[in-house]
């Protein structure tokens, strides 16, 4: 009797342990899903842009040939059109300001481009769909949640309800988000500049890091004499992999920028710093891949008269390449997600242009997320979330390629 209860007790303990394990895993996965779901749902709002239909009178006095390129004149055309559409809501200056906030500044650019293309428009009245501000997109996205304080003023609610009824506003796909550079206006801001900056930065990282990492791994694994120096280098590399990335930023700031004079905020210096950071990761992966190639291959090559160098570069390295590439992709994925060291070297600047080269000021995707999530203005939070989604998709793709490569190409000896 006693024995049986004791046994039951012991099995209960085991069940408790299993339950704890399952709960822990469940907890971790719930965190993962809530994070992804949260980012995806918040970001989905930024996918929606909005347009507003207005009857624009191309007043020759305003945009005649003399003022054809003056953006402010076009923006006053838009304001006039709005005011004539809603005369009751434009009595005070404050109301007019609320009204004007509905149309994006991008509308003026659209009108200017139209006039530049068809000068005969001047003097006519046209009904045109113009880009609306992020407020209108928000109005279209949210089905008037009662609990949340409304971001719209009374005038705006009135006008927007009226326009929605007359079908003067419509949602569009915010394609601008993927092509444009950063902007002060949320509806004009995009990740195009950040994406291209990321591409340039990672290119520098890859070009500098890959050959050096392979060289180091080959030397350590194949040529280095096993002595205290070797141990020192090995410990060194392992430690370097665990150094906080922000320290690499300090190094980049002190060495690359202030000693070597590499220009700040550029993909060049960013890529170099990230290369220092990814170097140990790739070296460790490459060494593991080289170690997995059976030494008999090298011995065979050498027995046939090849030198050690020839044996290594003609046989061992090509066979280890899948493993090395997998490690490299994982390292590059790490570099893609890294933010902290780039803050140190000035890649946090507000940059609206898409960088043209390696020495132009640029920003990268993670830093763009950081900048937007820091922004107190409405509308940027959603953009940060959508940019996070893009970043996660890129990382997933890179990891998937790495896994695929490992499965497909890696040879089991």
């Amino acid at each position: 009797m006693i024995r049986r209860t004791a046994l039951a007790h012991r099995y209960r303990n085991q069940r408790r342990l299993v339950w704890l394990g399952k709960t822990s895993i469940g907890l971790a996965l719930i965190f993962l899903f809530s994070l992804i779901a949260n980012v995806a749902f918040t970001g989905a709002d930024a996918l929606r842009g909005a347009q507003i239909e207005l009857a624009i009178h191309f007043d020759p006095q305003m945009v005649g040939t003399a003022n054809q390129n003056d953006l402010l004149k076009y923006s006053s055309l838009v304001k006039t059109a709005l005011r004539s559409e809603f005369p009751q809501q434009a009595s005070s200056r404050r109301q007019r300001r609320d009204l004007n906030a509905l149309v994006s500044f991008g509308a003026a650019q659209v009108l200017r481009d139209m006039v530049a293309e068809q000068p005969e428009l001047i003097g006519t009245v046209q009904k045109i769909w113009l880009p609306a501000s992020a407020l209108v997109a928000e109005y279209l996205n949210k089905n008037h949640d009662e609990h949340v304080a409304s971001p719209f003023s009374d005038v705006q609610t009135l006008v927007l309800d009226q326009m929605a009824e007359q079908k003067l506003i419509r949602g569009t796909f915010n394609s601008r988000f993927f092509t444009a550079g950063d902007s002060r206006d949320p509806e004009l801001a995009g990740i195009g500049g950040a994406l291209f900056g990321t591409f340039l930065t990672l290119m520098i990282t890859f070009i500098t890091c890959f050959p050096i990492a392979i060289g180091a791994a080959v030397y350590l694994e194949m040529f280095a004499p096993r002595n205290r120096l070797f141990d020192f280098i090995e410990i060194n590399i392992n430690n370097l992999a665990a150094v906080p990335s922000i320290i690499m930023g300090l190094l980049g700031l002190a060495v690359f920028i202030s000693v070597l004079g590499v220009p700040r905020s550029t993909p060049l210096v960013g890529g170099l710093v990230l290369a220092l950071m990814t170097l140990p990761t790739i070296i460790i992966a490459a060494r593991a891949a080289l170690k997995a190639v059976p030494p008999s291959l090298l011995s065979g090559a050498m027995a046939l008269g090849a030198t050690r160098l020839q044996g290594v570069f003609h046989h061992v390295v090509p066979l280890a390449m899948p493993g090395i590439l997998t490690g490299t992709i994982i390292g590059m994925a790490q570099a893609l997600g890294e933010t902290a060291p780039l803050l140190m070297i000035g890649m946090v600047a507000f940059i609206t242009d898409i960088p043209a080269g390696f020495t132009d000021a640029a920003t990268v995707l993670p830093v763009q997320i950081f900048l937007w999530s820091d922004s107190p203005e409405r509308g940027f939070l959603e953009r940060a979330a959508l940019a996070s989604c893009v970043l996660i998709v890129f990382l997933l793709a890179m990891n998937a390629i790495a896994i695929y490569l490992r499965r497909k190409l890696e040879f089991k000896w």
Binding site: R10, Y11, N13, Q14, R15, L17, V18, G21, K22, T23, S24, I25, A28, L29, L35, I212, G215, A216, V218, Y219, F232, I233, N236, N238, N239, L240, V243, P244, S245, I246, I247, L250, L251, A254, V255, S258, L276, L279, P280, I283, A306, T307, L309, Q310, G337, E338, T339, A340, L343, M344, A356, P366, I369, F370, S373, D374, A384, A385, L391, L395
Partner: protein
């Protein structure tokens, strides 16, 4: 040796004919010239135009190179060249030295700048003062002109956030590892592990975004419904998110350690009548303990060095408090705040960032060494 090599070449030419020889050279020429052309075209895209005579010269050079390489391909003569090999191996060694140079660079820069910093701010103040407010006055006679650089509030803040993170990630990570290694079926393991790896692969800036946009407001709302005032930049929110970030480290490193315990130990224990649970907790976990402890230390070191999550979710003001509901700041946050924006290199504010970097580097290095030592020293070898 040399004569035999030449004979091979002659035999080859005789057997395959001169046509193969020329064909190979021509193919190589075309390929190399094509690649060069592509580069010139690309350069044109980036606004670099190559003059005509230079293009011609480049093509001729490439053609010659291609021909040489084609000849090289056919001749099958890989004569060892001692000098060349020595240079090549030397270059490989230089590559390996880059890693060492990086470490030396880190130590040198943080040390040199820190020494400059300690010339301006006494060491005693740095280590023992309880106040951190690195505002440098614009005018000399301004009140509090010197600013104060006491690191204690920063260290407490860092440790507080890291401990909160560890309270979450150590049990969750360890129990996950025990379950995955001792109880889970292969299918479960194969489907759960990628999820954990994905959790480890999410960029910290996304975690930070989650903390600042979702978790902090949520915690504050929860706190206000039960009547507790939780700061919008509470250590709790940052700590929890860092904890989530470090779960995969603990889980996968611990699992590796548990997995490395030989099956014989488990079989012995089971055959003596122990349940699976007792075997896991009393045999496998103790056997893997050094690896598990090392995984805790590495996760802790990771939490201490984490930057983006705390920059986004933790505070800027240095409060000396152990209350997780209040805003605290960390070493990494201060490094970022001191260095973002324009800076001059002799300013104590800039130098202070390097001194903080020195502390951070020393701390994480010590932790990593600790982990390494524990594994090396206490890990039993069963083979």
């Amino acid at each position: 040796m040399i004569s035999s090599g030449q004979r091979t070449e002659q035999e080859l030419i005789a057997s395959h004919g001169v046509a193969a020889y020329i064909g190979c050279a021509a193919t190589a020429t075309v390929v190399v010239a094509g690649i060069t052309g592509m580069f010139i075209w690309l350069a044109g895209h980036f606004g670099v135009s190559v003059p005509g005579w230079l293009r011609l010269m480049l093509f001729v050079l490439c053609a010659c190179g291609g021909a040489w390489y084609g000849r090289h391909l056919v001749e099958l003569k890989l004569t060892p060249r001692r000098g060349y090999e020595r240079i090549a191996i030397g270059m490989l060694a230089v590559c390996a030295a880059v890693a060492v140079l990086t470490t030396i660079g880190i130590v040198y820069t943080v040390l040199a700048e820190s020494i400059q910093f300690f010339r301006q701010v006494p060491i005693r103040e740095f280590f023992f003062s309880l106040e951190w407010s690195p505002q440098i006055a614009i005018r000399d006679d301004q009140a509090g002109a010197s600013g104060s650089f006491g690191i204690i509030p920063l260290i407490t803040g860092t440790l507080l956030i890291s401990f909160i993170a560890m309270i979450l990630s150590i049990p969750v990570g360890l129990f996950s590892a025990i379950y995955l290694s001792e109880f889970a079926s292969k299918q479960v393991r194969d489907s759960v592990k990628p999820g954990l790896e994905f959790l480890a692969g999410i960029p910290t800036v996304v975690y930070g975004f989650f903390a600042v946009a979702t978790l902090s407001p949520l915690l504050r709302e929860l706190g206000s419904t039960v009547g507790i005032g939780i700061s919008g930049e509470s250590a709790l929110a940052a700590g929890v998110v860092i904890g989530v970030m470090t779960i995969p480290f603990v889980a996968s490193l611990s699992e590796d350690a548990l997995f490395a315990v030989p099956q014989d130990l488990r079989n012995g224990s089971l055959s003596l009548g122990a349940t699976h649970g007792e075997t896991a907790l009393q045999i496998v976990v103790p056997a893997a303990l050094p690896g598990i402890v090392a995984s805790f230390i590495l996760a802790f070191s990771r939490a201490v060095g984490e930057t983006m999550i705390v920059v986004m979710a933790a505070g800027l003001a240095a409060n000396l408090t152990l209350n997780p509901l209040e805003a605290v700041t960390t070493v990494t946050v201060q490094i970022v705040t001191l260095l973002v924006g324009d800076q001059t290199f002799d300013d104590p504010k800039t130098l202070a960032a390097f001194a903080l970097g020195l502390i951070l580097f020393a701390l994480t290095l010590a932790l990593n060494f600790c982990a390494l030592r524990i594994v090396r020293k206490y890990q039993e070898r069963y083979d």
